[in-house]
């Protein structure tokens, strides 16, 4: 227990990095995922095909492989640099590329299935009363699609929090790698340290789960 108290600033720092990874890659993957979903439901076969290819490739590749590719492939071989002198900043942004690219594929599928749950009759009725395409989308389809998407997006965000630990593969000092270092430094306090970090993840994910569950129930569309 002493080790956890002594190292509290270090532990909080590690979780701060985890939060930063989650928020930044969460925002990027949400935007990129919505773009991909728009491509996959568009009337243009080329975009539909490209979107489907992207999603199927990224979803079926292990996240560790994607992050290793970003860190070693893009970072070392291709020499993609975000900061000339700060190596940790560099691997931070490279792991964000990997996390966002991977998560966006799942966001795309969630958003697409949200659009598909809106019954066809809704759109037909909207067109029948003379709404334009944008009005149909804005007033009829999206309000219904967004509501069904909240709960699955909440679980995606929850999974993303845990997936940020994979950034450890390219040396980003987030919670999991920091925990391993503390194991090395305090060999006698492995169980308290583990419980401390586990509690940290519960604290991060639990409120999010409760909130998205409550929102989803409150906004549910009764059909």
């Amino acid at each position: 227990m002493e080790a956890v108290v002594d190292e509290l600033p270090v532990i909080l720092g590690a979780f701060w990095l985890t939060v930063k990874l989650t928020v930044v890659s969460g925002v990027i993957s949400l935007i990129w995922g919505i773009v991909l979903a728009a491509m996959r439901v568009s009337p243009l076969p080329v975009l539909r095909g490209a979107g489907a290819l992207y999603v199927n490739v990224l979803r079926n590749t292990p996240l560790t492989l994607i992050i290793v590719f970003c860190g070693l492939g893009l970072g070392t071989v291709m020499n993609v640099q975000f900061s000339r002198d700060d190596l940790s900043l560099n691997s931070f942004w490279l792991s964000i590329i990997g996390l966002s690219a991977y998560t966006a594929a799942f966001v795309c599928e969630v958003v697409r299935s949200g659009i598909n749950t809106v019954p066809l009759g809704q759109a037909e009725a909207a067109r029948a009363i003379g709404l334009t395409f944008l009005q149909t989308l804005r007033l009829v389809i999206l309000p219904q699609a967004v509501r069904t998407v909240i709960a699955p997006l909440g679980s995606l965000l929850n999974a993303l929090v845990k997936n940020t630990t994979v950034a450890a593969a390219i040396g980003v000092m987030e919670a999991a790698l920091r925990m391993k270092n503390l194991f090395d430094a305090h060999g006698d306090a492995i169980i308290p340290i583990f419980l401390g970090f586990a509690a940290g993840f519960v604290v991060l994910t639990l409120p999010m789960n409760l909130l998205s569950g409550r929102l989803a129930r409150r906004l549910a569309v009764v059909r």
Partner: protein, 292 residues
């Protein structure tokens, strides 16, 4: 369901819309080609398409001596962890539905706790905690432990949702003909639940297979280790090697994914089970399950 291209978002295109779509198709195709060309030249500048870097993959020794042993280790870890996780999931899924509070609550705590913790942390904990207890924990054992406990907890939730999705009349009918509680569970509820949950279970096993790649972090000699450490160490061809390994992973996972879809379609047509597979899958998280 959508006759001739009409959907929620757009109507069947008329002549003007078709013309506009064709123009936009051409334009977006060009943009995609430009992006592809840009990426291609960037890699070309660094000489990544050099035949020299790709040649090792045409030689049999590269596969038999470097890559296939890694693939074998990945599949072994996945298979052992899958069996253990299924046992773990069945045990805890049933325990969470127990009539006794002293079984139900601890089971719920274990499942919820392990679902909240990232697999990588469980793997590290297995390594260090095991050596604390005086055990020699190999990388294989640590990876299998992490995958078993995490995926087992997720599977427990899937099993529980599946059992709850079986209509109550089934269990009541079982009790009415004099079956004991464990007989009702074993002979009536579990078979129907597992059939209904099969697609979700297979999706989770795909996740498990993908997560074996975490063994890379603790230097377990798996497929990713072969592709990102062993082969590049011999031929200095990291990017080609990682691409080849990715294709192997994608092929295996797509095959398992098709198996899941096929099973889903089959169980939807089957009249032997009463649980609604779709409802059960929604209860377990559906599509999202694939991510972690």
């Amino acid at each position: 369901m959508t006759g001739r291209g009409a959907g929620v978002l757009y109507d069947v295109p008329g002549p003007r819309a078709r013309l506009r779509n064709n123009v936009l198709t051409l334009a977006s195709g060009l943009v995609l080609l430009l992006v592809a060309y840009f990426v291609w030249t960037k890699y070309d500048e660094k000489g990544q398409w050099d035949g020299k870097l790709w040649q090792p993959f045409l030689r049999a020794e590269t596969w038999t001596e470097l890559i296939l042993p890694g693939l074998l280790n990945t599949l072994t870890a996945a298979a052992v962890a899958a069996v253990l996780a299924l046992l773990f999931g069945a045990a805890f899924g049933i325990a969470r539905l127990s009539d006794h509070r002293w079984v139900r609550i601890p089971a719920a705590v274990v499942v919820e706790a392990f679902r909240a913790v990232p697999v990588l942390m469980l793997i590290f904990f297995a390594q260090y905690g095991g050596s604390l207890a005086g055990l020699v924990v190999t990388e294989f054992a640590a990876v299998v432990f992490g995958l078993t406990v995490y995926n087992g907890s997720v599977l427990a939730e899937i099993v529980r949702a599946g059992i709850l999705a079986v209509p109550r009349g089934q269990a009541e009918a079982g009790s009415a003909i004099g079956l004991r509680k464990n007989q009702v569970m074993r002979l009536i509820l579990l078979p129907q639940a597992v059939t209904a949950m099969m697609p979700a279970i297979i999706s989770q096993l795909v996740v498990l297979l993908k997560d074996t790649a975490l063994g890379f972090v603790v230097a377990y000699a798996d497929l990713l280790n072969a592709g990102a450490r062993v082969v590049p160490a011999n031929y200095a061809n990291l990017i080609p090697s990682v691409i080849v390994i990715a294709v192997v992973y994608i092929a295996i996972n797509l095959a398992l994914g098709y198996l899941a879809t096929w099973l889903e379609r089959r169980s939807r047509h089957s009249r032997k089970i009463t649980a609604d597979p779709a409802a059960a899958e929604v209860a377990a998280g559906g599509e999202v399950a694939l991510m972690s």
